[in-house]
């Protein structure tokens, strides 16, 4: 096996080793399934409740994607505004940082009052938690423009808009795709947290009800599903990033 192949397989090998150790510890020390279920037990419960888990997972998935979609639109627009104007940057950025420091779980009770139990609070929590990195990255990409290049273009009569469209926006694309990878995983966190208190469906709801019924295997299976979904989406956006902004990665290799 070459080094490159080993690199490709390494996450799977590590996963197998961790699961093996986990199973070993549970079996050797005879840990109660109600406290800490073994991987085997989790797999069994997963299979047993696959329809239920599937339904909740689908709910969590589309709710997350809806919140994430809003986050992209709002994040890109806000990022564009504050990245293209120094005044807007100065005005908006400190407030946004303060907002980002608030725990988004704290918004859930408020959102429940406004929108009731259901998809609304979950979508909005996913949105609130994930738009910030998108906004910051678009703004940074737009704001970092070499002064020389700006002179070259301004002397030709380029308007601010020209510079933004021809240089700023393409330049911020690698930042944008990078931020999508971070934002999608955050969006899953937002949805799950919100569903735990403010929904009757979704993996978050499943975790709470399985926990209160002492169905630990089921609860763990729910966690595994959220993790797997987040990882798949992360890989999807990585692939999109590589295909669209390859120049950014190759140039960093060169220098």
């Amino acid at each position: 096996m070459t080094k490159k192949q080993l690199e490709g397989w390494s996450p799977w090998i590590l996963l197998t080793v961790v699961l093996g150790l986990w199973q070993l510890i549970c079996t050797v020390f005879n840990v109660s399934e109600f406290i800490f279920p073994s991987p085997w037990r989790i797999a069994k419960q997963f299979w047993e409740f696959k329809e239920i888990i599937g339904a909740h997972a689908w709910r969590t998935y589309w709710v997350t994607m809806a919140g994430f979609g809003i986050a992209i639109v709002v994040g890109v627009l806000l990022g564009f505004v504050i990245g293209s104007s120094r005044l807007a940057y100065a005005a908006v950025y400190p407030l946004m940082t303060a907002f980002n420091a608030l725990p988004k779980a704290a918004f859930v009770p408020i959102l429940v009052v406004w929108f009731g139990i259901g998809a609304g609070p979950a979508i909005l929590t996913a949105f609130l938690i994930s738009f910030f990195p998108i906004m910051v990255n678009i703004a940074t990409g737009l704001a970092t423009l070499e002064p020389e290049l700006e002179d070259v273009l301004r002397v030709l009569g380029a308007k601010r808009w020209d510079v933004l469209i021809k240089v700023g926006l393409p330049r911020s694309m690698p930042y944008f795709y990078g931020s999508l990878k971070v934002a999608i995983t955050l969006a899953f966190v937002g949805t799950t947290v919100s569903e735990m208190t403010a929904a009757n469906e979704g993996i978050g709801y499943l975790l709470i009800s399985a926990g209160s019924a002492m169905q630990m295997g089921l609860a763990f299976a729910g966690l595994v599903v959220v993790g797997a979904m987040a990882m798949l989406m992360y890989e999807l956006f990585s692939a999109v990033e590589r295909h669209t902004t390859g120049w950014a990665h190759r140039s960093s290799q060169n220098t």
Binding site: E146, D151, L156, P170, W247, A248
Partner: protein, 281 residues
């Protein structure tokens, strides 16, 4: 020098002073001061001087990116009121856009400057042909469709100069364009610049630290002092043209370089005097 066959100057600075802010102006803190400068049509001038002496400020004034606080600037007989489209600029950093191929980078100005901008979609093939010709002229044949990160530093700089020239400006401004290159590449690019200028006879304003470079390329070399940023020496380079690299090893050439070196040395020791009483010999 070319007054006989050219009525009027191409660049005409009359007692130009610039302070970056109103506050600095009231404190009499000027970035450049008392600049009186007359450049003939098609003349190649070089400006040498210590870093931070206001060379870049001078370039911004000449291109209309900055307005003088006092004084008057005429370019091609017209008072400067805003950015001057007839100028092309290149800097020490090539600053090519990594997501565009070399030829697309060279085409960028045509997407912005009128009248090319309005015709860009229709005339694209024509413009692209022009960009390719220009790239071939500077020795980038075969690299037109490569990306900037696939080119060496010297090649990137050639492309950057092509980008500055694609809209056929009347005035080319170069701010230490060869500063980051190795000595051999630098001399190669001197010759390329010399050939482009000989062929098209645009005005060149070259800002550089390299005295040999200034003497080899320019008709006139100006020495600038730091704080206050002003022109202190004007030296016409009367070496015959066309100049070959060989000329840089002749006696006349090195004499001029020495002379300029002397001016700069004197300026530096003057500047150092208040700090230490021991002036350089």
């Amino acid at each position: 020098m070319q007054t006989s066959d050219n009525p009027g100057w191409f660049v005409d600075f009359e007692r130009v002073w610039l302070a970056y802010t109103e506050e600095l102006r009231l404190q009499k803190h000027f970035a450049v001061e008392a600049i009186d400068l007359k450049i003939g049509r098609g003349e190649f001038i070089a400006i040498v001087g210590p870093s931070g002496c206001g060379k870049s400020t001078f370039m911004k004034l000449t291109t209309g990116l900055k307005m003088p606080s006092e004084g008057r600037i005429l370019i091609d007989g017209q008072p400067v009121t805003g950015p001057l489209k007839i100028s092309g600029m290149a800097f020490q950093a090539p600053s090519l856009l990594p997501w565009r191929s070399t030829v697309d980078n060279v085409l960028l100005p045509l997407e912005i400057v009128e009248p090319f901008r309005s015709n860009f979609k229709r005339q694209r093939a024509v413009y692209e042909e022009r960009a390719r010709k220009l790239l071939q002229k500077v020795g980038l044949a075969g690299y037109e469709d490569k990306f900037p990160w696939e080119l060496s530093g010297g090649m990137q700089q050639r492309a950057s100069i092509c980008r500055a020239l694609i809209h056929e400006p009347k005035m080319l401004l170069l701010d230490e364009p060869f500063g980051a290159l190795d000595a051999f590449t630098r001399e190669e690019l001197w010759c390329i610049l010399r050939d482009l200028w000989t062929e098209q006879k645009f005005n060149v304003i070259l800002v550089t630290h390299d005295l040999r470079e200034s003497v080899f390329l320019a008709d006139t070399v100006y020495v600038m002092s730091r704080s206050p940023g002003r022109f202190v020496v004007r030296r016409e380079i009367d070496l015959p043209r066309p100049r070959d690299l060989e000329i840089s090893y002749t006696r006349e050439f090195t004499d001029i370089v020495h002379e300029l070196r002397g001016h700069i040395g004197a300026m530096r020791s003057n500047a150092a005097q208040p700090a230490s009483s021991k002036a350089a010999p």
